[in-house]
């Protein structure tokens, strides 16, 4: 490299799908920057490992592509078990890297804002998802599965996933990479009925039709929908005809097909989908005993968007022992990095982060994925999103507008990490974890058996 400028060095914070796609774009070709991928967990791939449901193992195969296009590239390093904002600060990164790309996702859940929400037995669905997927921070969640009924609040794919996981035949579950502690608890589960509540109507359900179709074809599970619930009100009828997507039309078709089916006498568990129902209170003395649910109707608001408005009718009570709240993810601000408190994203233009008070771009700071656009889209959405951010970053590198970092040498960041993150997991550490998990899975005909505590993961990494 004599005579040419040293390679730029980029830190990507978060090794989930958005961070992985961004790394993959930056690592394509030969002239690009060096990439260090920071991750707060000892394992990479974020929600691909910890979010995608265990029975959707085809989707989890995307890890092969990420491995090939990211970790196997010579210019890439993995720094797992290092938390930016705790172990190392934003300004540390700025001092050591030409650019920092935040891919930290949306790490918490939206709240419902109703009484009783925090009673024991009422959980964010995202915690439950982390629990069954072996997220080390959710191992001790111990959801109470001793009641006969659970209520899932929300109508998106996470709601469908948790309803499915609560009712899936244990024989099927045993062939997945579900965490062992969850497999054991789900085998012992007494839950025979899962009621899924949608605030809006059947035409506005946010499930993909693929997820909805699955709910209707689970072994030993009867999917119940009241035929009256899938009759459309005139506002929805008109909306579906003028603005409805292919998925929305398909969903309604599926819901009507399922509503018309006879009950399955062989079913041991049931899922009931109910629409135009909002929880108004979670009931219980000391722990969840039920949910008060009020009916809604669909209206157009002044902007022409559809809204669910409560009807002036008495709420009903659905008795249950578990409530899973699944009304969306929400991002958490990071110390010293600008944050849009209204949209819950890093304020950015095409991925370039700016300071909202001055409107000025923060040089060398970028965002990608949910922390850039909000928690929307599916896995592949992050690929185009990452393309956009990386195009800006590459343009800025080429234009020479990024100031060189104070400590540009690899050795300097390595020295700092050795000090602040002695239990850092490198690519080699992750390979040891991965191999051990796969080997444990092989004998049980499962894709892998996950190590589901930080201690086990770190032991395997140091193996």
């Amino acid at each position: 490299m004599s005579g040419s400028a040293p390679r730029a060095r980029v830190a990507i914070v978060g090794a989930g799908p958005a961070g992985a796609f961004a790394a993959s774009h930056l690592l394509t070709g030969t002239g690009g920057p060096e990439v260090d991928l920071f991750e707060r967990l000892p394992t990479p791939w974020g929600l691909l490992r910890g979010g995608v449901a265990p029975d959707h193992h085809e989707i989890k195969r995307l890890d092969r592509t990420f491995d090939r296009d990211v970790l196997r590239r010579a210019r890439c390093r993995f720094f797992g078990n290092v938390e930016v904002g705790t172990d190392i600060s934003h300004s540390d990164l700025i001092r050591h890297y030409t650019a920092v790309v935040y891919a930290i996702g949306a790490q918490t859940d939206k709240s419902l804002g109703i009484p009783g929400e925090d009673l024991p037995g009422s959980l964010p669905a995202t915690d439950f998802v982390g629990w069954y997927n072996g997220h080390p921070d959710r191992r001790e969640l111990a959801p109470d599965l001793s009641g006969e009924r659970a209520v899932v609040i929300g109508n998106g794919n996470v709601a469908a996933d948790v309803a499915r996981m609560l009712t899936l035949d244990s024989g099927e579950l045993e062939r997945t990479d579900v965490a062992d502690h969850a497999l054991e608890a789900l085998r012992q589960s007494s839950i025979a009925e899962v009621v899924v509540l949608g605030r809006r109507g059947p035409a506005q359900a946010a499930f993909t039709s693929a997820e909805l179709r699955e709910l209707g074809h689970l072994d030993g599970v009867d999917l119940r929908i009241d035929p009256a619930d899938v009759e459309l009100d005139p506002v929805s009828e008109e909306w579906l005809a003028s603005e409805g997507t292919f998925t929305a039309r398909k969903n309604l078709e599926l819901l009507r097909e399922f509503a018309a089916r006879a009950p399955r006498p062989d079913a041991t568990r049931r899922i009931e989908l109910r629409f135009l129902r909002s929880p108004v209170e979670i009931l219980g003395s000391g722990r969840v005993e039920g949910v008060r649910v009020g009916p809604n109707r669909i209206e157009r608001d002044d902007n022409g968007s559809l809204r669910a408005r409560p009807l002036d009718q008495d709420p009903e009570t659905i008795e249950c022992g578990l409530v899973l709240r699944s009304v969306g993810y929400q991002a958490v601000p990071l110390p010293d990095v600008p944050f849009d408190e209204r949209r819950y994203v890093l304020p950015n233009q095409l991925g370039r982060v700016f300071d909202p008070s001055s409107g000025e771009t923060v040089p060398g700071v970028y965002a990608v994925g949910w922390i850039k656009r909000g928690p929307t889209g599916i896995l592949g959405t992050n690929k185009r999103d990452a393309e956009e951010t990386v195009a800006c970053l590459e343009k800025d590198l080429e234009a020479g507008v990024l100031p060189p970092p104070a400590n540009p040498d690899r050795g300097q960041i390595d020295g700092l990490l050795a000090e602040v993150a002695p239990h850092m997991v490198t690519v080699e550490g992750w390979r040891s974890i991965d191999e051990l998990e796969r080997r444990r899975g092989f004998s049980q005909e499962r894709p892998r058996v996950k190590l589901a505590s930080r201690e086990e993961l770190l032991n395997a990494a140091e193996g």
Binding site: A210, T245, T247, L379, G380
Partner: protein, 89 residues
């Protein structure tokens, strides 16, 4: 015969890039791309070349007669997407 895309599609777009006859839609930039939950293969145009199958990172594409039975719906679904799609302006 044709190939079909099933429900595990994640809208990675490598299949679109390799398709020699441009039969996979919607494409990034199309008005219905963002709202589409998956990509679809137009059975009228597909030439069964297998290029998309080889690049799909999540094994979501099958020759229609080889799709697992849980994806029996996929052939009709892929065809229906194109039947209902508004013609390009």
């Amino acid at each position: 015969m044709t190939y079909v895309i099933a429900g595990s599609c994640i809208k990675d777009d490598v299949c679109i890039e390799v398709c020699p006859v441009d039969c996979i839609h919607p494409k990034p930039g199309d008005p219905d791309f963002e709202t589409a939950e998956q990509l679809y293969i137009d059975p009228e145009i597909c030439i069964d070349c297998d290029a998309c199958v080889e690049v799909c990172p999540v094994d979501a594409i099958f020759a229609d007669h080889e799709a697992p039975s849980k994806y029996d719906y996929a052939l009709e679904l892929n065809a229906q997407f194109f039947a209902e799609r508004a013609p390009a302006p």
